[in-house]
Symmetry: C2
């Protein structure tokens, strides 16, 4: 059980942009800061753009920036947007499920309840909350 | 984000054995019931044996059986035993972490809190709870 790398880097990219005093950053700088391939990071940013979290800035200081207040970006929503949570266990996706118990299964409901509790915690925090120590983070990331 | 197949089949195997009126079952029968390869299921059962959930029964009606009361098998503990939760995000395992933020990161703590909430829900239920509809499950699994 692990977050996909896409979600991990999506969260990190939003934190990066939330700590940037310039507001925008080229994808290459974010990729460098986290030691991830530019190609991978560009895909992450495409996803974040499709979800409405970032927007493209053209021109000399071009790149991406947050498209709304990070205090409105709940961590749970970012995870829901980036992950396909119907993949959590096979039976969460009826079209491809092969487990014969699905209809009668009590375990499925408990796993669903646990996953909901997980998301509920993350819904209690926003990107602004986890970028609250901005000076410290931006010193590490070089986003000052 | 998904449970590993090992954990999924570990939980299913414990449910299978909890519904079996004979108490024990050959690995091949469990594998057949869930449509998984015998090879894969044998590995799952080895893990469950190492964790103390099942034991081997030799002889004509040989196979595996639960090694203790399923009412004492908390779902959260099965997940903790089968999953390597330090893999949940890279920074949960300091030895291999590459994220430069780890020491200053507020996100890491929130993900840890969410994961704890997930496990807390599962700790509230046991294998006996999710096999409570035993007649219905055993009719599907053919374990009557």
């Amino acid at each position: 059980m692990r977050l996909t790398l896409q979600t991990d880097y999506a969260l990190r990219s939003l934190v990066y942009l939330a700590t940037s005093s310039e507001g925008s950053a080229p994808a290459a700088k974010i990729a460098d800061a986290y030691g991830v391939s530019l190609n991978h990071l560009v895909k992450v940013l495409q996803k974040l753009r499709a979800l409405g979290y970032v927007e493209t800035v053209r021109g000399r200081n071009g790149g991406v920036r947050l498209s709304r207040d990070p205090a409105l970006m709940r961590l749970g929503d970012v995870v829901r947007g980036c992950e396909d949570l119907t993949e959590f266990v096979e039976c969460f996706r009826p079209e491809t499920n092969t487990c014969p118990l699905a209809e009668a299964c009590l375990l499925k409901a408990r796993l669903g309840e646990a996953l909901a509790a997980y998301l509920r915690v993350l819904d209690g925090y926003t990107i602004a909350d986890v970028a609250a120590n901005r000076a410290e983070l931006s010193a590490i990331l070089g986003t000052r």
